[in-house]
């Protein structure tokens, strides 16, 4: 079973994602403050806010749609996560040239290609405990899922599992690397941001469950 997503479908998905990222900003800032510099929530709120304003007139083909997203990120933020996202989105744009719809069966491959560019831009490897590990798990999970109505829930479940796995591992790249063993027991902020996005699409809500609300570790 294949579904085709047109520009309106995608805009609706991004609308949910944006709304959620704005709500999640304080949580993501807190998380990032424990391991990095505390700006991930602010970064994503800025991107989401800018994107919200453009969602009603996104261009086609899909490549232009994606390029527009990349440009919006380029206009408002320059942190690691946004740079990585831009690299990924740019790759998706390059791979969807001329397409007016996106096929559900394409998604896992597009994620893998995006990851390739993200690794090129940021120098991270799988296992470094970044958003990449989350994306990798999602790509595998939705590859195995043939029912397109279950893509989001499959992704969500996979991500929960992966975050649980990585929780006990240390961050190996980015600012969080310096936290060393202190990063053990904490979720990676980037993976958590991804979780918020997937939950928004899936309509679920649990990534905030760990949220302690205090930044006393440093």
């Amino acid at each position: 079973m294949t579904q085709e997503y047109d520009s309106a479908d995608l805009s609706m998905i991004f609308a949910k994602v944006c709304e959620r990222l704005i709500d999640a900003a304080p949580h993501l800032n807190e998380l990032d403050a424990q391991l990095g510099d505390g700006d991930l929530g602010t970064t994503l709120r800025a991107v989401a806010t800018a994107l919200q304003g453009e969602l009603c007139n996104m261009p086609l083909p899909i490549s232009d749609f994606m390029e527009k997203i990349s440009q919006i990120i380029a206009g408002v933020s320059g942190s690691s996560f946004s740079a990585i996202m831009m690299a990924g989105v740019n790759r998706v744009a390059a791979e969807t040239n001329g397409q007016n719809t996106l096929l559900s069966t394409q998604i896992s491959d597009l994620i893998r290609l995006a990851m390739e560019s993200m690794m090129g831009a940021g120098g991270a490897n799988l296992g470094d405990k970044t958003v990449l590990d989350g994306l990798n798990g999602i790509a595998d999970a939705i590859d195995r899922e043939t029912d397109h109505t279950k893509l989001a829930s499959a992704a969500d479940e996979a991500l929960s599992r992966i975050m649980k796995d990585f929780k006990s591992k240390p961050c190996k790249i980015g600012r969080a690397r310096l936290a060393g063993d202190r990063s053990i027991g904490l979720d990676d902020p980037g993976m958590t941001a991804l979780k918020h996005m997937i939950e928004a699409i899936n309509g679920s809500h649990d990534s905030g469950s760990d949220f302690t609300g205090g930044v006393d570790a440093h």
């Binding site: 403050a33 510099d37 206009g75 320059g78 996560f81 740079a83 831009m86 940021g122």
Partner: protein, 333 residues
């Protein structure tokens, strides 16, 4: 949060506005977001352009070092958050006087990725540009992983060296090579006594008790090498100098530039007490502090603490450091 500010959201923009109001012939903000600081009516032509960019909250770093004999442009991010790719693009384009642009940035993931992306994009548009990444903080990674180190106050040296070399009409490759050489000669380390507060966060980035300090902390409050009891100025100076020299030994007879920098709240009195020990130690080791710099050069808002940066000099580096520069935050040596 006790700061003399208005809405935290406007922290960066209002501070930049004040900067331009104070020094209208030295600074101008251009670009879609008004986040690109340039020299107004720059008379530069034909020389290599120099761009930078980084998070805000470190004044005079980064934007304050735009000026004749220093930088041509700076893309300004939010507090402790890098500038956007578009602003970086505009900054590099604004520094293009026909001989290529060198960007000099601190070694932070986001900045590095964004500047690299923009570099490639501009190159494919025919704008010749190179990137030097400064990674001078010895506390942030061991020598074998020196490319993972953070960029801190050594950036000030890099800007000055590159700025003077560009003014002398050196080529893009030359300016980049000289700047790289300067940074190979440069090591820094910091110690923090108190936290800073990101305005939009509204509370200190970290907690540290009244008796403790953190050795090796980064300029955004990144974790250092140890946290422990306050020590005397002399002991701190000794340890910090030892850590820097261990990484880059300096022989008797060598000449150095020495930057003793307040992270923000540490008063000048203390800088001199601290500098006194550095000077005594280096002088008894036969090292000549040819270029001492003491003051606020690379800050972390209201963080209390000191950073030390040492750069060994050769004749060319020393003469580049001594070239006059016109910038409200640079004191000619």
């Amino acid at each position: 949060m006790k700061k003399i500010i208005n809405d935290p959201k406007n922290y960066v923009d209002e501070s930049l506005e004040g900067l331009v109001l104070a020094y209208p012939s030295e600074f101008e903000c251009i670009g879609a977001n008004k986040r690109v600081v340039v020299r107004p009516d720059s008379k530069a032509s034909g020389k290599v352009g120099l761009a930078t960019g980084g998070g805000f909250g470190h004044l005079p770093l980064f934007a304050g070092y735009v000026g004749e004999g220093l930088l041509d442009s700076c893309a300004v991010g939010d507090v402790f958050a890098g500038p956007s790719a578009n602003d970086v693009t505009e900054a590099i384009e604004a520094a293009d006087f026909g001989s290529g642009v060198l960007s000099i940035i601190g070694n932070y993931g986001g900045d590095r990725m964004v500047f690299n992306m923009v570099k490639d994009a501009l190159e494919s548009k025919g704008v010749r540009n190179q990137l030097v990444i400064v990674a001078d903080d010895v506390a942030s990674a061991p020598p074998l992983e020196h490319s993972k180190r953070r960029g801190v106050a050594g950036l000030t040296f890099a800007f000055k060296i590159a700025g003077a070399a560009a003014e002398r009409g050196r080529t893009l490759d030359d300016v980049a090579a000289i700047t790289e050489r300067a940074m190979n000669n440069c090591r820094s380390i910091g110690v923090a006594l108190s936290s800073c507060t990101i305005p939009q966060a509204g509370k200190p980035t970290f907690e540290i008790d009244d008796e403790s300090i953190e050795m090796g902390m980064g300029i955004h409050g990144e974790q250092g090498v140890w946290r422990g009891g306050l020590k005397s100025a002399d002991d701190l100076a000794d340890e910090m100098l030892d850590r820097v020299l261990e990484d880059n030994p300096i022989a008797s007879g060598e000449r150095i530039a020495l930057l003793c920098n307040s992270l923000g709240a540490t008063p000048i009195d203390e800088l001199f007490i601290f500098y006194r020990r550095l000077a005594q130690r280096l002088s008894s080791a036969g090292v000549d502090i040819a270029l001492p710099m003491i003051g606020h050069y690379t800050t972390s808002m209201e963080m209390a603490g000191i950073t030390v940066s040492v750069m060994t000099l050769d004749d060319e580096l020393e003469s580049l450091m001594r070239e006059p520069a016109a910038c409200p935050f640079w004191r000619n040596l």
